[in-house]
Amino acid sequence: MQKEFAFFPGCVLTQAAIEAKMSIEAIAPVLGITLKEIKGWSCCGASQAQDVDPLATLVANARNLALAEQMKLPVLTTCSTCLLMLRRAKAQLDNGQKEKINTYLAKGNMNYQGTSEVTSLLWLLAQNAEELKSKVKKPLSKLKVAVFYGCHSIRPSKDLGFESSTNPTSFETVVRALGAEVVPFTKRLDCCGFHAVYPAEKSVMKMTSGIVNSAAESKADCVVTPCPLCQMQLDIYQDDAQETTKSKARLPVIHLAQLVGLALGIDAKKLGLDYNVIDASKIA
């Protein structure tokens, strides 16, 4: 397993999903991974800023990637939207945009070369599932988990392409390595709606609620997701969503790194489990 990464936390990990950062930083040393946060990283645009200015978004991400290149390390992120934005920028740069964008980067004495790959926590763990399994201290054998991939960890496959987008298995592989039971869950590939929570609130609440209900129907104890944005959406907005759709189900929604941390025997507090809005303490 690659041991050292240029870590791109993404905005949401610094604030609203602080527990995602806590947990990933807690599991890394146990797994023997060194995460070096990219100094001066900027927002990836969150698949929003390109609606205002696609070029500015590309420049910002070229800079982010160039910063990682200076560290001579591949990039790792846990936020799926950051993953998509960075990988898409990389694809655009590597397929003809590099020279043009580099003239802009030069204004800040930077240069993009294309030497750093971009991966996610989920993919890294899936690729090293055996090793992960060997480090598990507290197998989660009683836990029934609904795995929620989140759009930007699988789609569009032209930019992500790690696995089949209609029949992915990485998440199941990882969760099974932790000893947990993966329940069949019809909405595991759906969209949580996060990116349109403001303009299309009614629809988004319906989507969020549908996911929670589907997970509950499959008798899961919790929903797990690799993406902090999905987690926020399903966790923070869950009560609102259930109220709008008059549904009863209520399920803890936890970050992938939190689940891994529990299986590695890390203290729930260190994983920030008490920051989750829907009480997740029962899972620990």
């Binding site: 905005c11 949401v12 604030q15 609203a16 999903a17 602080i18 527990e19 100094k39 001066g40 900027s42 927002c43 645009g45 969150a46 698949s47 929003q48 800023a49 390109q50 609606d51 205002v52 200015d53 696609p54 070029l55 500015a56 978004t57 420049v59 910002a60 800079r63 998509l84 802009y104 980067l105 204004k107 004495n109 930077m110 759009c151 930007h152 789609r155 569009p156 496959s157 032209k158 089949s164 987008s165 209609t166 029949n167 759906d190 969209c191 709606g193 990116h195 349109a196 403001y198 303009p199 299309a200 609130e201 629809s203 319906k206 989507m207 923070i236 609102d240 920051y275 989750n276 809005v277």
Partner: protein, 319 residues
């Protein structure tokens, strides 16, 4: 092997299982398999097809919950994708009204196409008698979107449409608006852009199903983003959607370089908004957010350089 097909006879929905020898269909396309079933097992099974060469758009169906263009999908690809499963579930496209078995109603989609004011309105310098002029670059810009065959595969998977189609349209409708708005021959891109804005442009949830499934490699989501950027550039920027996008951009360029969640809520919906304030309070209560952040976060290292870079890019690409 087995095919479980979702059927609808005009009155009731049911599932029917067909057993087929794998060797009979493994060299075929998905459409070939449906034809095989119809012609050898059950002629009451209904679906549509016309060209069988991936250009007429008639044969979209879902396999195991995902939309495919039937004549453009080899069975071997499906075997690979679904790890040699010996049962497949075939259903009509989602987000359309089912008329019968695998046949769906296209009329609402055609009516939606009308909404974005289809058809080019050419610049005054061009005429019906002498046609138009367009250079290679201008042509290349739009030609990808012209590949759309109206197969509905993107729309079938659209999460926004599934949630609520009353304030939204099929992704390909936005693609059609994009191709007109970005045609160098077009007199006024806003004719189509404005119509797109009025019919849900800002409601896309960015799930990228459309981009992912399109057999012609068209990205409805990117075209939506393109139309949004165009609308903003042309001053069509009021409302919650534009404000939301703008606040990301503002944080990136004008403020710290990173997103601030509370500012996001406030900028999007205005300070007086109660709804989102509730969310902010939830966040603060959970200890996730520093209320002081509202007065400006810490600027990232090298932000001035980032701004310089973006300014340079903007200057170089001024229209």
């Amino acid at each position: 092997m087995k095919f479980i097909i979702d059927r609808f006879d005009g009155k009731k929905n049911y599932q029917q299982t067909y057993t087929v020898e794998k060797q009979d269909i493994e060299a075929l396309t998905l459409l070939g398999t449906l034809l095989f079933i119809k012609q050898h097992l059950d002629l009451t099974l209904n679906f549509t097809a016309s060209c069988r060469m991936a250009i007429c758009g008639a044969c979209g169906v879902r396999v195991n919950g995902h939309a495919y263009l039937g004549c453009d999908t080899k069975m071997t690809e499906l075997f690979e994708e679904y790890k040699d499963a010996d049962t497949f579930r075939i259903s009509p496209l989602a987000n359309y009204t089912v008329l019968s078995d695998l046949v769906v109603d296209w009329e609402p989609a055609i009516e939606n196409l009308r909404k974005i004011k289809p058809g080019l309105v050419a610049k005054d310098e061009f005429s019906e008698k002498e046609g138009c002029r367009q250079n290679q670059e201008q042509y290349d810009r739009i030609v990808g979107q012209w590949d759309c065959i109206l197969c509905g595969v993107c729309a079938s998977e659209c999460n926004k449409l599934t949630a609520d189609h009353s304030d939204y349209m099929e992704p390909f409708v936005f693609t059609h608006a994009w191709k007109l708005a970005n045609d160098s021959r077009s007199k006024d891109p806003m004719i189509h852009t404005k119509a797109a804005v009025m019919n849900g442009l800002w409601n896309c949830v960015h799930c990228h199903e459309c981009t992912n499934r399109c057999p012609k490699h068209i990205s409805g989501a990117e075209d939506i983003a393109g139309l949004r950027a165009l609308a903003m550039r042309k001053g069509l920027n009021s409302g919650v959607g534009p404000a939301h996008a703008k606040s990301f951009y503002t944080d990136l360029v004008e403020d710290s370089g990173r997103l601030n969640e509370i500012r996001l809520a406030l900028r999007t919906e205005g300070v007086s908004t109660v709804a989102r304030a509730g969310t902010a309070i939830t966040l603060m209560r959970a200890g996730k957010m520093n209320p002081l952040e509202i007065f400006g976060g810490h600027e990232i290292e090298g932000h001035k350089d980032l701004v310089k870079m973006i300014e340079a890019a903007k200057a170089a690409n001024k229209e």
